[in-house]
Symmetry: C3
């Protein structure tokens, strides 16, 4: 029972998603389509790469993930198929898979070029509907990825800023803001290994600071700023029962310092 | 053909929903997942309880409803399974099922504790993905609810404010605002039984009032404030072709009086 | 494997959609339900008609499309079934199918009246859940459309403003704004046939103008206003990497002139 997921920047409630699902179901009416999100900020490849890293690993083996954050649609950028670990991906070759590839080298990459696996008429502006969705639908019918087009050696990939580690300090930054307004940093659980998480550690974000790294949101009083390891293993800053990003006026890129005394 | 529904406060377009669906499909790739809503206001248990009451009764027998409005995630609050009427529920034990239980006593309640029915690694902050979704997926595979953990006798439950009935008057309040801006009150159709609904009844909400209780939105001219019995059997106030909540500046808790002359 | 799609103005995240899906699945638990969009502006029949035109043609033969933009719910407006081309529709008879019918005459139209194909209790305000969804579910089970009710001869239909063609000029207007803020006009690819699309053509929208009709968004520098033929074959105006509607302050109905020198 094949599954195709969709991750796009079309916007919540966009009917373009509907058209894309129709094109997929016209090829394989039996496939299960799952929306991951359509709320990636418009043309924000870095945000899309983070969503793919945090969500796709939870899906069954061989799931086909279609990601359409595609500012270069209609230019000469390629569309690629990549197998990374147990999961399959179809996306423009613009760095969307960077975070996944940083963790696991793809075991197969092809360029999606074969005309028989796209719609008969291809627009210049909607390759999600006309090329990427149909290629995923054909894969879900059993077409071998090698048949989509020629092998590719090098993909476009960007580096994500890594936290800088010092003896008694980690210098990181806010990497994303989630739907609760929690501030997701580029500092991960492993960066804190062996260090105390009690009152001897202080986390500073912009003008604000909080003491200790907690286990969960419910450990502090409503209105408190607290630091914790979130559900994707990243250090987060949250305000209990409130929206930290709005309350603190913090945006992506704000420095975050973890310091031990 | 089992069905799992999802009701959360993750926010429209949240990719956390995608991760949760992946975790469910990894256990049962054949289950049908239906989104009820992810737009319950953050941590608003009362609003979530109302959504569950108004939507879950329309689903087929044995549908498994997962509700994740969970401000206490990672604390010692329990996660529970409850069978209420023909429907099944998995939710934190924080009152989310209060409205359903007020109408129908659960026929079975267990605490969801067994490690074999959750993900191998459980985070402190995302039990929807790590515990509740997986438990629902295992139920959908035929696991008996008794195997999820020990029986429970008492659940947390809150009382909803009931309207006060007098001879020629009902005192109620605005309980929710729907996606059209209609004001949903805690006064129900049965409260009006045997009373006139014509020009002899007046409905007052805050500073505004309207005469008569109508059958449908289309019975009055655009721009009119009107009272009617909505699709869940509750008295509503609406402005024809407009957003009553925004136009009148009314919020949840505003008193509503129905008075007969 | 039947498919039912949903297009409504219930609002993104509305739990009314969940209730409607429950009612459908209670009749046919095996049907695949696909959301096209729930973000049609409230009661905007023209916008809904455009969404249906642009999306439903991508779906497999015999797909059943339920459209609930229904300001007249509960009045004496009819609910109709129409077969148009290879697709099937259930909608209020208020003009929602106008754009589809302008292109292709329906091959069968019936009024949806038979009580056995609706819920046992029908509310006055939610016919999507009580009549339209259930009728679609029964169709998906194999009920013949003729059994839904009597044949209908004439449907309500509105005319869409067509562009006015002159020798060296086309006078059109902005017909819709998509989720990226691109301005979708009522001028289509065929209106430009045989005319130059290079620096000899100028497109004027309100106070703004741009030269040439391009193939895709990526052909110009970020921040540029450009005209192109969008994915539905319509002339669009876009700002590369930005939201044209917000940036230019343009709304639906703004005149658009294409002029050749």
């Amino acid at each position: 029972m094949p599954i195709i997921t969709l991750t796009t920047d079309f916007g919540v409630g966009s009917h373009y998603v509907g058209a894309m699902k129709g094109a997929i179901l016209s090829i394989n009416p039996l496939v299960t389509i799952v929306d991951i999100t359509h709320a990636v900020p418009a043309q924000d490849i870095a945000a899309g790469a983070l969503v793919l890293e945090d969500t796709t690993r939870w899906f069954p083996k061989d799931t086909i993930h279609v990601a359409v954050i595609d500012p270069g649609v209609g230019t000469d950028r390629s569309i690629i198929y990549a197998r990374i670990g147990t999961q399959q991906f179809i996306a423009p070759d613009n760095g969307l898979l960077s975070r996944l590839m940083a963790a696991t080298k793809p075991s197969m990459v092809t360029r999606v070029t074969e005309a028989q696996y796209r719609l008969p008429q291809v627009s210049n502006t909607f390759h999600g509907r006309d090329i990427m969705g149909p290629a995923a639908a054909h894969l879900s019918m059993g077409v071998h990825p090698r048949r989509l087009g020629p092998a590719v050696r090098v993909l476009n990939q960007f580096d994500s800023p890594l936290p800088q580690m010092a003896d008694a300090k980690i210098l990181g930054e806010v990497m994303a803001i989630d739907s609760f307004g929690n501030l997701i940093t580029n500092i991960v659980d492993a960066n804190l290994a062996g260090k105390p998480r009690d009152e001897h550690v202080c986390v500073v974000c912009g003008l604000y600071e909080t003491v200790g790294i907690h286990r969960t949101y419910g450990e502090q009083a409503p209105g408190s700023l607290l630091a914790l390891i979130g559900s994707s293993g990243r250090l987060e800053l949250a305000i209990v029962g409130d929206n930290a990003a709005k309350r603190l006026g913090v945006s992506v890129g704000t420095p975050v310092v973890v310091a031990w005394e």
